[in-house]
């Protein structure tokens, strides 16, 4: 009752500002149609049998068919192991780059995050080429024949490679924001280096470590490409199993039920990460530049850490080098002569796909960028009923594995008036609503950092609401806007788990094309497509980076004025 009258008052305020009311309405409506409705459709479908009557049959199958249980167990197992190894590697690398003065820091940083901007299964391709039955290492170097990389070890290896950089990036942020003065203080009162690390640095970064673990766990569970290439038939995993039930056996209800089962651990991990851990992170943003103390690391430790990062970087180079070489090698494993024929083939059969991919990415990127900033602005600066649920819903699609979203979209948009299956629209909408949360989150973070009195000052000098947004707020959030754009573009180019359900003969994507080539054994062509894809992404990032207006100083100044 009380809540109701508060809502009423807020609605009254909305009515006074019709533009705002319309915007809020549009955002709510589109979130309902393109986020909530598809997820609801998956849930409903999972409780139906193949004739469409209500039943628990699909979940009952878990008890009866061992392979479904195995799929759940395998997915969670791989997630946990990948998470742990990924976090250990990521932390060591992040610590090295944040706390020591190793040479070529910037170069190492770029190398370490390279896997983040490439399709998530390029590493699966490398693993096959290096360690598969005809792999360079297994067959050529070690002389093994019929080495079997498929199953747990293959998926895990490939995922660690893919997701350790994610852990690295998260933890680098955590360590960078820990004020090194705290470490200086500990040593100042007599703590040795090891004690300082053990009693100060490590405990302070623990929430960040837990958070990074959960992020990797979620990504691993949701991963589709690596399991599809490397799991093999004897090691079923949830995301691929759901795909196979739908595209192989045309069993939509069972696929939906698997999707729901897949969703539970990821959404819980996401909820813990977001609502519990994030509040416990110790960040010390003072606005004053803090120089990192390199005293924390002894000479020997520095040597060890540097060699570790070096090895890490070498592995990344090896994996990418393999893809690159594979793209120019006649028949990997048998005939290592140089050739261009994979590229010629890729361009002859794949030109349309390349074009489609670019169209999808180029359409969805600005859309999700603008939508992200709009929602961030609404959530941070205005009060209206349902604000919390707007933020939550807009983030939901990011927490949910792509497989679930993909199944949701084919269930939700397969009949009029929303008959979108097989169209460009459904691919674009999928990417927009799936990657808008990143834009929202970075927008919210930046907006919260902007001292509200800066906007008040503009009003005080005679600017109305719209002018204030245009002349003050927008330029200040531009950097976040552009980084949101880069992310949306990279993901639109490289994502597969949801898109694999939505591509059609008319509209195909590069990632799906690569998987198909791997599936039919044309590793060289797959490698050539991967090289093309990575090349496009790098060019696009450079272009977007160039057209970012020169406001790098802006955010820094905001922080400084806040620090007073």
């Amino acid at each position: 009752m009380k809540k109701l009258s508060t809502a009423k008052r807020q609605i009254e305020l909305l009515v006074r500002d019709p533009l705002l009311a319309i915007l809020v309405g549009i955002v709510f409506l589109s979130l309902a149609i393109f986020v909530v409705y598809p997820l609801g459709a998956v849930l409903v479908k999972s409780f139906q049998d193949e004739q469409g009557t209500l039943s628990l049959e699909n979940y009952g199958r878990f008890a009866r068919f061992g392979y479904l249980w195995d799929a759940l167990r395998n997915s969670v197992l791989v997630g946990v192991v990948t998470g742990m190894i990924g976090v250990c590697l990521g932390y060591a690398a992040a610590f090295t780059l944040a706390r020591t003065n190793i040479p070529f820091k910037k170069l190492f940083h770029l190398l370490l995050i390279l896997p983040i901007i490439s399709p998530p299964f390029t590493s699966a391709l490398s693993v096959l080429m290096l360690l598969g039955a005809n792999g360079l290492i297994t067959r050529k170097v070690l002389g093994l024949s019929d080495y079997n990389i498929y199953g747990f070890k293959g998926v895990m290896l490939s995922q660690v490679f893919t997701f350790a950089p994610v852990a690295y990036l998260t933890l680098k942020g955590v360590l960078d924001s820990l004020n090194p003065t705290l470490e200086d203080a500990a040593m100042n009162v007599g703590a040795s280096r090891w004690q300082t690390f053990q009693k100060v640095t490590l405990p302070l970064s623990l929430p960040g470590i837990a958070s990074a673990f959960l992020v990797v766990f979620i990504e691993s569970l949701a991963d589709f490409g690596n399991p599809l290439v490397l799991a093999g038939s004897r090691f079923p995993m949830l995301s691929t199993q759901a795909y196979l039930e739908i595209t192989g056996s045309f069993n939509l209800p069972l696929g939906a039920a698997l999707a729901v089962v897949l969703m539970l651990p990821s959404v819980s991990a996401f909820a813990i990460q977001r609502y519990y851990l994030q509040k416990r992170q110790y960040t010390t943003v003072t606005g004053k530049p803090t120089s990192s103390s390199s005293k924390l690391v002894s000479k020997n430790a520095r040597l060890a850490l540097t060699s570790f990062v070096l090895v890490f970087a070498m592995f990344i180079l090896l994996f990418y080098g393999t893809i690159f070489m594979g793209a120019f090698t006649k028949v990997w494993g048998y005939n290592y002569e140089l050739t261009f024929r994979h590229f010629l083939y890729a361009f002859s059969v794949g030109m349309d796909t390349i074009k489609d991919t670019l169209i999808v990415a180029a359409t969805s990127t600005p859309l999700s960028g603008f939508m992200g900033m709009l929602i961030a602005f609404l959530v941070v600066r205005f009060r209206f009923p349902g604000k919390g649920s707007m933020e939550f819903t807009s983030i939901l699609n990011f927490a949910v594995p792509g497989t679930v979203v993909g199944i949701g979209y084919i269930l939700a948009f397969n009949r009029p008036p929303l008959l979108l299956i097989g169209t460009l629209t459904i691919l674009v909408l999928n990417f927009v609503f799936r990657y808008v949360p990143v834009g929202i989150q970075s927008g919210i973070a930046v907006l919260r950092q902007i001292d509200p009195s800066i906007e008040e000052a503009a009003q005080n000098l005679g600017a109305d609401g719209l002018t204030t947004f245009r002349k003050v707020t927008l330029p200040l959030i531009a950097p976040a806007f552009f980084s949101g754009l880069v992310f949306a573009f990279v993901r639109a180019m490289t994502a597969i788990s949801a898109a694999v359900f939505l591509v059609s003969a008319q509209w195909n994507l590069l990632t799906v094309q690569i998987l198909n080539q791997v599936g039919s054994g044309r590793l060289g062509v797959a490698a050539a497509f991967s090289v093309i894809l990575i090349f496009i992404v790098l060019v696009a990032i450079t272009i977007i980076g160039r057209i970012v207006p020169g406001h790098e100083g802006a955010i820094r100044t905001v922080r400084i004025s806040e620090g007073f």
Binding site: E456, L461, G553, S561
Partner: protein, 360 residues
Amino acid sequence: MELRLQDLFKEFGSYDEPSSRVVAVDHVNLLVREGELVTLLGPSGCGKTTLLRMVAGFEDPTGGNIFFGERRMNDAPPNERNAAMVFQSYAIFPHLDVFENIAFGLRLKRLAEREIKDRMEKVLDLTGLTGLERRQPNQLSGGQQQRVALARAIIMEPQLLLFDEPLSNLDAKLREQMRIELRSLQQRLHITSVYVTHDQAEAMSISDRVVVMRDGRIEQEGTPLDLYSRPKNRFVAEFIGKVNLLEGRVRAGSLEIGQGRFSVPLARAGLREGDRVECMIRPECIHIREIWNPTAALLRGTVRRTTFLGSVVEYEVFVEGLGSLMVQASNPLEGKIHTVGSSVELGFAPESVHILSKID
């Protein structure tokens, strides 16, 4: 233009939950005359900033009226009030250089480039920013940022200038210098101004009148001299300057404090023989010297603490029956500095004792 606040009232929190409601400004009446600088002074949470933000239009009053001259401004949006504000955090637009920051409001008014140039020149000169026009905000010192914020406000030729603790981010020396500059600028431009601060020295030095606030209410308003010499109550007395609070008793038409008896004029109505009163005396009103005639001394005591501050020496003197008194002696280089433990006698003019209230 004069600013008039009538029964101004502001309550925060939800209407649905009475427990969450907080009264920030409690029925305040205030008149700021044309060209006058009035300071709102009080501890944090006293409502001074909320009051200022209501005048600027950033908060809507729950009740009461705000008049700019004859015009009621309650419902005018902040961008139509022409009440330029200098923010505590300066709120300089980080993406604009000094010139564009200052010109921001004029550009919104679509003033001709020539007029902007003319006004800019004057304002840059007034604020001492000439030559820094093309600097980015992050290339400015704290004092320069402060001047940009000020310049951006006065270039609007506003009918009202609002200051929200504008000097609190500067170091002590610069703060004193800026105080003087602000004051002379305001007097020269003759702009009606409201200034918010929690620093009593700043309030005293800059204002025509000071309004002391507590818990959303005005405790006392008056000139700095009024407030310092005749505070209405203990809160005001203690908030402005240092003070000794004493208990006295009315005996035979005069005031008895400790062993001493003073012919303090008991003009305060309603005081009768035998009443106990709380009174005050400022530390610098008490004279201190070595005891030379033990019987004639008004008050005798022992020095407990000596603090040499340069221009003054501050003593804490313990007086039997009265407790510790704070005493300030000026020009310590000329006289003798009393060391801890020495016996001293204290004296003061009866009229420097000010009665605050009757003790029931």
